[in-house]
């Protein structure tokens, strides 16, 4: 297993970090999070024209760069760090992943180049009102002719995506279907969410026309594993940013005639925060490498990484607000933006308790 990044990967990361600091500063996040869409096509297309980020893990034969999860997760970590408002996770991890796992060569050739170029914004509609991430909980139905009836909820960027991959109960079992974002009979409603930087939608399907993508048997499980690993990497990026910002604040905040960073209570908290974040990073990086290497224990490893990142992000965010004191509880201070992203990331695709139980399912036999 790989335990370090190559110098090319390090360089890619630092270029990307610089680009995002320049083009997606927190001021931009604040502007976009106040919009209903939560992102803008102009910025999304620039991101892809300049750096080809949507293409990172898409195979070269479908217009992508053909990199692995190692590189894809670097992008996600940096986006989580910068708190970029873009439909990146929905498009590149969820929709592209479903198409890669379930689609025929022909369907891949039809759908992936648009995603890779940044032209198509896509998402996956899997969970429903109960908020379960298990495929078995699916109630939305697909007819033999691909007509969809039912609802989906907690759909990332579901109100704005051009293309929606829908998990449905079809005539021959659970399968993925693709639906045009503007299809007749589809009603999309932006949900009011606690985390303003990650938009969720509820979708109603009333006899909506769709195209069969492929069976979800096995494919959904693979996708759920990848989503957990990718989200873990996004999360550790955010957690590390919070940790660094809190430390910088403690170094300059003066009380009792000295920086609060000189108090042992702050120093020990900072050491604990470093430990939490570094452990979570190790787990997230390991899981990404394990995905690339086809590790047999990947289901448990992915859950471990997600549980570890969830706890670390929440704990770091709690400490970060505490270190900032009163100002940390204000809207104008940026800390709460990551705090909320940490919470939404914890819950999406299964929280820490869910993933710990999942680990045990694999390790308790």
């Amino acid at each position: 297993m790989k335990f370090s990044f190559s110098s090319e990967q390090d360089e890619f990361r630092s270029n990307l970090r610089r680009y995002l600091a320049d083009r997606a500063p927190i001021k931009e996040t604040r502007r976009l999070m106040e919009t209903d869409a939560g992102w803008e096509r102009e910025g999304w297309q620039a991101l892809n024209a300049d750096l080809g980020l949507a293409a990172v893990r898409i195979p070269e034969e479908y217009g992508g760069h053909g990199f692995g999860f190692g590189e894809h997760c670097i992008v996600l970590e940096e986006m989580g760090r910068a708190l970029v408002c873009a439909p990146y996770f929905a498009t590149t991890v969820l929709a592209a992943g479903a198409i890669l796992h379930a689609g025929s060569d022909e369907r891949k050739a039809a759908l992936l180049p648009g995603i890779a170029s940044g032209k198509t914004v896509a998402t996956l509609a899997a969970a429903e009102d109960g908020g379960s991430w298990e495929a078995a909980a699916t109630t939305l139905t697909a007819s033999a002719t691909g007509r969809l009836n039912g609802h989906k909820s907690f759909v990332l960027d579901g109100h704005t995506a051009d293309l929606i991959v829908v998990l449905a109960r079809g005539p021959s079992g659970l399968a993925f279907y693709t639906v045009d974002g503007n299809a007749a009979g589809l009603t999309r409603r932006l949900l009011k969410t606690m985390d303003p930087t990650r938009k969720l939608a509820r979708l109603e399907f009333s006899d909506v026309e769709s195209t069969f993508l492929g069976s979800a048997e096995g494919a959904y499980e693979k996708l759920a594993i990848e989503a957990a690993v990718c989200l873990s990497n996004e999360m550790v990026g955010g957690a590390e940013r919070l940790r660094e910002d809190s430390l910088a604040y403690a170094m300059m905040r003066m009380q009792f005639g000295k920086p609060i960073a000189s108090f042992q209570s702050m120093k020990h908290k900072a050491a604990d925060m470093l430990l939490d974040v570094e452990l979570a990073k190790s787990a997230a990086y390991y899981a990404a490498a394990a995905l690339d290497e086809g590790d047999a224990d990947i289901a448990a490893t992915a859950s471990l990484a997600k549980a570890c990142a969830s706890d670390a992000y929440s704990q770091t965010a709690t400490h970060a607000i505490q270190i900032h004191g009163g100002i940390g509880f204000t809207w104008d201070n940026d800390t709460h933006l990551w705090y909320k992203r940490g919470k939404s990331s914890d819950v999406l695709f299964g929280d820490a308790f869910y993933h710990r139980e999942n680990m045990m399912k694999h390790w308790a036999e």
């Binding site: 403690a250 000189s262 042992q264 020990h268 900072a270 050491a271 390991y286 680990m359 045990m360």
Partner: protein
């Protein structure tokens, strides 16, 4: 001269071992040969039983030894720290007198740093060394001294100048442990074992030539020893799986290992025995309890993530990259793991966790975990000291003013001991 690379080193080492390794030799005789050849500690200077080999190539040599089961130099215990310190700061006389007998295992060493009044604050030592007549006279008390009862020599930190500032008043000596002024008592721990000793020094003597470096330079020398201790912290204790082969050298090595490792036999328990958690949970049926499953998963998450963090640090080191913060966290996380493991083991064993010895599960191992883990967050630098090190050295947070380093040490408030 042949070029120095993995292949040439491997070939040369293999040729020497093929010609010289003989398990029917006595252990000391073999190691004597080994020391003379330079293959025992090849990274040491060629003038002093080494071959000036870059540290990066040492694993190749170790592989060659392991390949044919050849025994290496004596490496367990404080003797490696003594060797490293002597190589860095000792005189030729020290090297002449001590290094060979360290490698052969004939001499055992101990470290006389900690005192009842100075644990985390080692530089606050108050054991006193005074030049009287033509020798140093030492008085004071040391504690947590592993193997002091067997040691021939001790690495001693003592105060030689009370008017100097704290760190400047210390000197470093090699002291003969087998003399009337040195009395050793075992120190019984809360888990019932006695792995350490208290050492009382009453008019113990040190000849002037056994001062290491200059008078007043003791803290710098101590730092060298401690640095090697931290670097090798795991190695000191995991060493010691002897071969079961019948020849004389193996037989003598088994006896040596049994003696050297005796004080460390509870060390696996102090780390929490994470390896036993799943087997015990299955054996007791607690694996079906969802609350226990959550706790086990939390523990395994921490333990795996810690292992991968250590691997990240080692990978950076192996590639010659600057080490990130991941290299400084192992000690602190091991305390968390040990405590969490003890908690989970209690949860799994229930009332049986109260029973020790042959009344208890696994012949008392589970109970021993519960009463041994508190050592993890104290020994070798407390969690609090680790957090200070992380926050000050890694995160560059301001050092606290301590008020004891700027005035003559005699004016510094200190513990009353005795």
């Amino acid at each position: 001269m042949t070029e120095l690379n993995e292949d040439t080193v491997r070939a040369e080492c293999r040729a020497w071992l093929t010609a010289n390794w003989d398990p029917n030799l006595g252990l000391v005789e073999w190691r004597h040969k080994l020391a003379e050849s330079g293959w025992g500690n090849p990274h040491w200077p060629s003038r002093w039983y080494g071959r000036d080999l870059p540290v990066g190539l040492v694993p190749i040599v170790k592989e060659e030894f392991a390949r044919i089961g050849a025994i290496g130099p004596a490496e367990a215990g404080i003797r490696v720290l003594a060797a490293a310190t002597i190589l860095a700061h000792g005189t030729d006389m020290h090297k002449e007198k001590f290094l060979m007998r360290i490698m052969t295992g004939e001499d055992t060493w101990c470290q006389l740093f900690s005192e009842p009044g100075s644990g985390s604050d080692v530089a606050g030592a108050v054991t006193r060394a005074e030049m009287k007549g033509n020798q140093w006279i030492v008085n004071g008390q040391k504690v947590w001294t592993t193997s002091a009862h067997k040691a021939h020599w001790g690495l001693l930190l003592a105060r030689t100048d009370w008017d100097a500032k704290k760190h400047a008043g210390l000197s470093y000596f090699i002291i003969d442990m087998k003399q009337p002024g040195v009395t050793v008592y075992p120190l019984r721990q809360m888990n019932g074992h006695a792995s350490f000793n208290q050492v009382f020094l009453s008019d113990a003597t040190v000849q002037p030539e056994f001062l290491v470096s200059a008078v007043g330079d003791g803290w710098a020398v101590t730092t060298t020893t401690l640095m090697h201790e931290r670097r090798g912290a795991d190695g000191l204790r995991t060493w010691g799986k002897g071969s079961t082969r019948p020849e004389r050298a193996y037989e003598e090595e088994r006896a040596e290992i049994a003696t050297t490792m005796e004080p460390y036999k509870w060390y696996p328990q102090r780390a929490g025995r994470v390896d036993l958690v799943l087997p015990r949970a299955k054996e007791t049926g607690k694996i079906a309890d969802p609350v226990v499953r959550q706790e086990i998963a939390k523990l395994l998450t921490m333990s795996k993530a810690a292992e991968w963090t250590a691997r990240r640090a080692r990978a950076a080191q192996a590639e010659g990259r600057p080490q990130g913060p991941e290299g400084s966290l192992g000690k602190l996380v091991s305390s968390h793991i040990a405590r969490a493991a003890a908690r989970v083991h209690t949860q799994i064993s229930g009332a049986d966790a109260l029973l020790t010895g042959d009344d208890g599960p696994m012949n008392g191992v589970i109970a021993e975990i519960l009463v041994s883990v508190p050592a993890t967050s104290i020994a070798g630098g407390t969690d609090e000291i680790q957090r200070n090190i992380i926050s000050e050295r890694v995160l560059k947070m301001p050092r606290e003013r301590t008020g004891d380093t700027e005035k003559p040490f005699k004016d510094v408030p200190r513990n009353l001991v005795g």
